[in-house]
Each structure stands twice: as C-alpha cells, then as structure tokens.
C-alpha cells in the first residue's frame, strides 16, 4: 500500500531523512519508532503531502505522491501529532471538515466514533481537552475510510482505557485490509498492536522487522519470585541462561532472581518449574531499549 524508496528530505543544509526505504503492506499494522528528531514526523508529512521530499520516491497504492498528489492523498487518512484544530468549529463540524474531501468517507461512522469516545458533537473544539482533541483527530482519520492510515503519535494524551480502545480500532482497520502506519513513543502499544516495527534514527531506517523477531533477537528477561531463597548453584544452568540476584542475603541466597535468556520462552519455562516459583513477570526491555541494545546509543554525529 505504501512504498518509499530512498527518501531524502533536507531542511536548508540539514538532512532530516537520509534515504529511507519502507513498505507497508495491505492489512498490516506497522509501528514507526525512534528517538525525538529521528525524522518520523517528517517522513509522515512527506507521505501525506504536507512536506515535499527532495529525493527518492513515495507511492501510495501505486500512485506516486509527487506525480499525482491528489490521487495519492485520497488514499491516505492522516492524523497529525499536533492536536491543533479550528477552535471556532464544533466537534461535528470539525469532523465534517476532516472528511469532506475523501470520496469514501463515512460521516455516520465518524459520528458513531465520537459517541464511542464520549465526545460531545456540539461542543466547540476550543472547549475540548487535549485527549478529546486527539480522539476527534482519530475519529476523523478513521471515518475517511482510506486504505492507508497515517497516525503520528495517536496514543499521546490518551488514558489507558482509551489507548486500548484505539488499539482495537486499529486492529479492526487492519482486518479490513487497510494499512496502518503509526509513529509512537508508547512502545507498549506498538508491541501489542503492530505486526512489524520500523526503527528510525537520525533520518536512517535501521531496521524494519516483525515485532516478535526484534524482541527475540534482543533477548528476554524474566523476574522470578521463589517461595524460599536459593543459592545460584541451585538454579538451572546453561549457556543460554544468565541469572542475577535482585535481592540477596549475606550467604548469596535470594528469593528474587532476574533471568536473561535468548530464544524460545516455551523451552525455558519447564526448566523453571522445579524452583517452585510463586511469581513470574516479564521484565524484557521495551522496543526502544531493544533497539538501543541492538544498535548502540545515538552518536553525537547522528544528533547533529
């Protein structure tokens, strides 16, 4: 649905995107992560036609965004990260404005989403809270019924319940065969929802891979709470397992251990059963930590 090849974007002498190539397939949820200033928003703006890329090619559903920008934009529903809207309009009027130029837009669906989000349709935008504006933007984007949904930080400002609701809506969107590309710093959401994740840093796409593959490759970490303290010698051994006591007594025995391992969880769990664990928690790092571990910290040169 979305294909970007070697996209370069410069602002004056500064190269913000440095040859980004990316593909979002129909029915796929693709997460877009990276530190602040990595170029995520710029990339989305280039796709949405708000900014123009200097080199490379971006096409949406086979339509080049530079050659036929209008046709391309008809296939895109975009919700920017900034929740600024026309304050004098009511939520309903703003919704109509957002979907007005999309041929397949569904106003009834938009209004149903406003109700689902508990948004008062008659209230002026200026009177809406930040979270409500975020939901209004999402309702507008979803009601466009476009085959490509571009969402810049859609979870920002939402409470946990609303986040889960939005995650469900994004899954529904993908189940309809539409592509969803969303940038987020809420990596837990990306992990829960996305099929693949693209990691951008300093304008370069470092990796685009299935979420599970990335997490597996970086290793997992479990926190175990045992019924009674044990010494390290009593723990299962193996080249693939690394134990660290979280709290230990003077004799080195501990009831709380961190286990780091690589590979399949199902192969490790049976080996833990004999320890008589009373608590088990996934303490694996988030995607950002995973990427930092995989690619190292951002260099000064990259930050410049």
């Amino acid at each position: 649905m979305l294909r970007a090849e070697g996209v370069v974007k410069r602002y004056a002498a500064r190269e913000v995107l440095r040859g980004v190539s990316l593909e979002a397939r129909p029915g796929e949820l693709l997460g877009f992560v990276g530190p602040n200033g990595s170029g995520k928003t710029t990339f989305l703006k280039c796709v949405a036609g708000v900014a123009r890329h200097d080199k490379g090619r971006i096409s949406v559903g086979g339509t080049d965004v530079e050659v036929k920008p209008l046709d391309a934009r008809r296939k895109i529903a975009y919700a920017p990260s900034d929740t600024a809207m026309y304050d004098s309009l009511s939520a309903d009027a703003m919704l109509r404005f957002m979907i007005a130029y999309h041929r397949d837009a569904d106003l009834d669906r938009g209004r149903a989403l406003l109700e689902r989000f508990h948004l008062p349709a008659g209230r002026r935008v200026r009177a809406l809270s930040h979270g409500m504006k975020r939901k209004l933007l999402l309702a507008g984007a979803l009601a466009c019924n476009a085959p490509l949904l571009l969402l810049d930080e859609p979870m920002e400002g939402l409470d946990p319940e609303a986040r889960r609701d939005v995650e469900g809506l994004l899954r529904e969107q993908a189940a309809r065969g539409n592509s969803v590309l969303f940038s987020s710093h809420d990596l837990a959401s990306v992990e829960r929802v996305c099929d693949r994740v693209a990691f951008l840093r300093a304008g370069r796409l470092l990796e685009c891979a299935p979420v599970d593959d990335v997490l597996d490759r970086a290793g997992r970490s479990l926190l175990l709470r045992l019924r009674s303290p044990v010494a390290e010698e009593a723990l299962p051994r193996g080249d693939d397992l690394r134990w660290t006591a979280v709290q230990s007594g003077a004799d080195g025995r501990s009831a709380r251990w961190r286990l780091e391992f690589r590979g399949d969880l199902s192969a490790v769990l049976p080996r833990l059963a004999r320890l008589d664990p009373v608590g088990l928690r996934d303490a694996s790092g988030g995607l950002e930590e995973v990427f930092a571990a995989l690619y190292g910290p951002e260099t000064e040169e990259e930050r410049a």
Partner: protein, 254 residues
C-alpha cells in the same frame, strides 16, 4: 467547504469593517451641509497641505469630491487597508501560526484551490462592504440636497476596490512566506503606514501609493474619465502578487 469556513473565520473582522465604513459614510453625509457652507474657513484651519487640497477640491467639485475623500481615500484607504492587512495575512500564515496547516493540507484538495477560495472569500468580505456603503451615500444624497448617480458611485467603487485588492493580495503573498500572522500583519501595516506618512509630507507625497486613490484620479470619474493606466497597474499588481503567493504556497513545506 474552504470558502464557507474562511467566510466564517473572518466574519467578525468583516462585520467590524462594515460597521466602520457605514458609520463613516452616514456621519459624513449628514455632516456635509454644515461643511459645505464653511469650506473656506475649514481650509484655513487645516495644517496639512494635502488635506487643504482635499477641501479646495470639495469647494470646486462639491459633494462628489467629499464622497471621494470620505469613502474612497479615507474609508478604503484607511479602514479598507487595515482590514485587507488583517485578512490577507491570515490566508496562509494563520494555519502555520495555529499549527493547523498539517491537518488542512493533508486533505485531498489542491493547495491552489485552498488558496483561491480563501482569497476569494476575503476579497468579497473587503469589496462588498465598500460597494454597499457607497450605495448608502447614493441613497442619502437627496436628504442633503445632493445627488450621486449610481453608475458613478459603482465605477469609483470598482476602481478603489482594485487598490484594496492589490494591498490584500500583497499581504497574502507575504502570508504565504510567513509562519507568524502577527509579524506578517505588522510588516504590511508598517508599509502602508509609511505610504500614508509619505502622502502627508510635501515633496514626498508624489511617491506615495495613496496617490492612486486620492482626488486626482477619482474626481474625473464624474466626467466619465476612468484612469485606466492606474487601474491596470493595480489589477496587474494584484495578479502578480496572487501568482507569487500561489507559487510560494505550492512549494512550501509545513
């Protein structure tokens, strides 16, 4: 949608501008009989030579010169330019300033259309009140023992509208480059104030753009003489500013 939205966004400003023009016109016409009888004295009391010239012209050409001064030079030249500055600077810069540009420009509508509909809405909000309030003078003229032909009033209004539109489109062109509506507004208003100040300085007034809407080009309308060269300059400037604004807007990143 864009057109209606922009009319609504500027409605308050347009209402204020229309009220100012209306009050100016009604008060002016009602005051005319008192002034008509005392113009020679008024000339002696006025310190600025350009304004003295206005009153001498009123003495010579009567009510028409007075309407030209009140409605076209003062009304359009001061209130009209102020409104044009405020409306024109908003066309692009307001969205950049309010950070709504991303939302607007990601819709599947050409930027050229966004610009055109907004420009048109603002142009109508500027020009229609100018014509309407000139017609108030036409209606009120008999009540002060004068007459003002509709055709004459409309022709002069059309000519003066070109001046307002040129200033409006210049502000739109600056707006297309600016991310701060206030800064763009200050720039345009500063330029027009400079023009106004030049007009008030003997020896420099020939270099002021306000010459385009003072009595020299407007009085001859009464004899059917239209200053086509001035009109062409203003229309050409409007077109050039429009083209430049559109070109800039099309290429701009937000």
């Amino acid at each position: 949608m864009i057109f209606r939205h922009w009319l609504r966004e500027n409605a308050l400003l347009a209402v204020g501008y229309t009220i100012l023009l209306t009050i100016n016109m009604i008060a002016s016409v009602r005051y005319w009989p008192d002034l008509r009888d005392n113009i020679p004295m008024a000339v002696k009391l006025i310190p600025f030579e350009p304004l003295q010239d206005f009153f001498r012209a009123m003495e010579k050409y009567g009510f028409w010169a007075y309407v030209c001064f009140q409605q076209f030079w003062k009304g359009a030249g001061v209130f009209g330019i102020a409104a044009a500055g405020l409306m024109g600077t908003g066309i692009v810069a307001r969205d950049a300033d309010n950070r709504t540009a991303e939302l607007l420009l990601s819709r599947p509508i050409p930027r050229a259309e966004v610009f055109f509909w907004r420009w048109l809405a603002g142009a109508l909000l500027l020009v229609v009140p100018l014509f309407a309030t000139t017609l108030i003078a036409v209606q009120m003229a008999p009540s002060v023992g004068e007459s003002l032909p509709v055709g004459l009033a409309l022709r002069a209004s059309a000519y003066t509208s070109l001046f307002v539109l040129a200033a409006y489109t210049l502000t739109a062109a600056i707006s297309a480059h600016s991310s701060h509506q206030l800064r763009a507004g200050i720039l345009v208003m500063g330029f027009m104030l400079l023009q106004f100040a030049l007009y008030m300085i003997k020896g420099l007034w020939d270099y002021s753009l306000y010459n385009l809407v003072d009595l020299d080009p407007l009085i001859p309308f009464v004899d059917g003489v239209v200053p086509w060269s001035n009109a062409a300059i203003m229309a050409g400037a409007t077109l050039a500013f429009y083209g430049f604004a559109w070109w800039s807007f099309e290429r701009r990143d937000f």
